[in-house]
Amino acid sequence: MELTIGWLYPSLMSTYGDRGNVICLRQRAEWRGIQVNVLSLAQDTPPEEFHKVDVLVGGGAQDRQQEIVMRDLRGAKAEAIREKIEAGTPGVFTCGSPQLLGHYYEPALGQRIEGLGLLDMESKHPGPDARRCIGNVVFEVTATRLAQDLQKMLGAAPVIIGFENHGGRTYLGKVEPLGRVVSGYGNNGEDGTEGAFYRNAIATYSHGPLLPKNPFVADWLIQTALLEKYQTPVSLEPLDDTLATQAREAMFKKLTAIKK
């Protein structure tokens, strides 16, 4: 078996260890004998390449870079991503890249940047003096189908642990939130929602190495990608995730200690 990971704008959209998600997907697939091809989807990539991918990964960008990306991602490239996501290609979009999928992003300074309008949500920066939402974040996955799949894999309610650092605030329309915030800010620090889930696309503010610490999400992406590609369910060999479990437990312990 073979998988192609499409990495959106690796040099422009890679602010906070976002490469961690690509490394995690590649390693977890390769450890199970699945051949992996990482395809960079950048400014000089022809739109046809965008059609080749089985799973999409997008990270965060600083405002200036975000603007370059959103301007480049128009026409045939935008259409390719739209088709892929609508057709069920799984993807993980962290930090700034969910803003690409929503209606628009209004940066702290400068003009509104139009997104693909694929997810019914909008993002705004409340201004250069507004506080950034920074810190460790914990949320329970509530998006129905994803939560069910993960519950089956884990035998427990799926809880994601990550780190958020964003100036922009996201407000959801008719798109399902990815989860409910247990600790941290989430989409906007107001309504308790975090991220969004649409078809098989996961959007979240939990940036960078989201997948290494939540390996069940990585496995769900690999499994879904293989199902979409080969049209037959594939069960993945379990891996030794002791270190990830320990990393999660250490963080839970730390956050509980802070609350007390």
Partner: protein, 446 residues
């Protein structure tokens, strides 16, 4: 500068109080008193920074940049002292306003008279523009600009723009010494009305095989087009030009091949060149410079070498992606003739380290792991570091990973795994470096 009687009186009071506090803090062993006296004095006299800095006989030298400030200022200080000058210096690395003030106060007597030929002040990149109006330095050294704790500082572009605006206001006589291999700084220098001297490398054999992942400015700072690199020495520093607007690297004022370097790592070559260029400008003779380089001892935790239980230990502060990538390169160069060596990585997430540890995924830890040997991990975020190393291990990789929550235990284990005659390399974040040193030397500093 003329100081009025009233000012002189207030200055005296402020200095006396601050000095008393320093003595108290030290005698009660509450710390090194590198910040508090400055804070108190500043409240007692708002213009203190200006009044003190103007008394420095030949002028103030600012050292700014993301990485290398402490090492460069210590080297420059040593060069100037060997020439016979008396130097005020914030040697403990306290580089915010209070730290600068405290360093100046340490060289001031009870009636507010400062005696120093030069003041070498490391300045945090964010406060540089804020202190330039009060302390007008004679020299400014800009070492580099990397992404470091973006949550605190914002983007590299924003910082360099603020630097440029502030420096451009200074007198024409100010000398700006900057890293010409860094596109952002090179561009900054090209816009200034002052005299600008650039240092950099002219050694294509030291080019990296590829541009590392953790890189910020590969875009032209003038027009935004992608830069063409003939080669890269470190992160985004190298030989570049813009194919669109013609912007290119500034002409270098120093030939890097003519100078040996302090310590290990290409970053220390840059630190050496920066200090040499400044010292030459001040009038230190070549023999003294060469001799200082040859006999240089590292500042604490910066490539510092210790001997513990009969084994050699080298501590290499690694506080951001560029620093860690570079220390890995330096460590690999040291161990190229054997795969048994041991590395200890200590990752903390306290305020001085930055609370977000995601940046470790931007580092090419694969390059450390592929050489084999043993990697011991520890620190507050020991499991995050362990995961990063685990995901760096490729099929058939022989590198051994050992996880130790307790730092003391981690150090002991790493020492056990270090064969006699080899060096244990310790790669800690900032607060971890202080802890490691505390354990290894049996005394706490700062």
């Amino acid at each position: 500068m003329r100081i009025s009687f009233f000012d002189r009186f207030r200055l005296g009071v402020a200095v006396a109080v601050a000095k008393t506090v320093t003595a108290l803090v030290r005698s009660l062993r509450l710390g090194a008193a590198s910040v508090l006296p400055g804070e108190i004095a500043r409240r007692l006299h708002p213009n203190l920074l200006q009044l003190l800095s103007r008394q420095v006989k030949h002028g103030v030298i600012f050292i700014a940049g993301t990485n290398g400030k402490t090492t460069t200022s210590l080297l420059l200080r040593t060069m100037l002292e060997r020439q016979g000058w008396r130097i005020a210096h914030n040697a403990a690395g306290a580089n915010l306003v209070n730290g600068l003030m405290t360093a100046l106060l340490a060289n001031t007597n009870l009636i507010g008279q400062l005696s120093a030929d030069y003041a070498i002040l490391e300045v945090d990149e964010n406060i540089l523009p804020k202190v330039l109006p009060s302390i007008q330095p004679k020299f400014i050294l800009c070492l580099n600009l990397f992404r470091d704790q973006l949550d605190r500082y914002g983007e590299v572009d924003t910082i360099s723009q603020r630097w440029k605006d502030a420096i451009a206001q200074l007198p024409k006589e100010t000398v700006v010494i900057l890293n010409g291999d860094d596109p952002t700084l090179s561009y900054l220098g090209q816009q200034l009305p002052q005299r600008v001297l650039s240092f950099g490398l002219s050694e294509p054999e030291a080019y990296l095989d590829e541009i590392p992942h953790a890189v910020d400015s590969i875009y032209c700072p003038r027009c935004g087009h992608s830069l063409d690199y003939q080669g890269v020495y470190l992160s985004h520093q190298g030989d570049f030009h813009c194919p669109s607007c013609g912007f290119e690297k500034s002409k270098l004022a120093i030939d890097s091949r003519k100078w040996p370097q302090i310590l290990i790592g290409i970053y220390n070559k840059y630190n050496t060149l920066a200090a040499v260029l400044a010292a030459q400008e001040i009038g230190v003779d070549t023999d003294t410079l060469l001799d200082t380089i040859k006999n240089f001892h590292a500042a604490f935790g910066r490539s510092e070498e210790l001997e513990v239980a009969g084994k050699k230990v080298r501590i290499l502060l690694s506080k951001n992606p560029v620093a860690l990538n570079e220390t890995i390169r330096a460590v690999n160069q040291q161990r190229s003739n054997g795969g048994f060596s041991t590395t200890l990585m200590v990752l903390n997430d306290r305020t001085p380290d930055g609370t977000d540890v995601s940046w470790i995924w931007d580092v090419d830890t694969e390059k450390l792991v592929e050489k084999g040997g043993t990697v011991v991990v520890s620190g507050d975020r020991v499991y995050d570091m362990a995961l990063r190393i685990r995901y760096s291990q490729a099929e058939g990789n022989v590198c051994k990973l050992i996880v130790k929550e307790d730092l003391q235990d981690a150090i002991a284990t790493a020492l056990e795994h270090t064969p006699t005659g080899e060096t244990l390399h310790i790669l800690p974040t900032y607060s971890a470096m202080l802890e490691v040193r505390g354990i290894l030397t049996g005394r706490q500093i700062l």
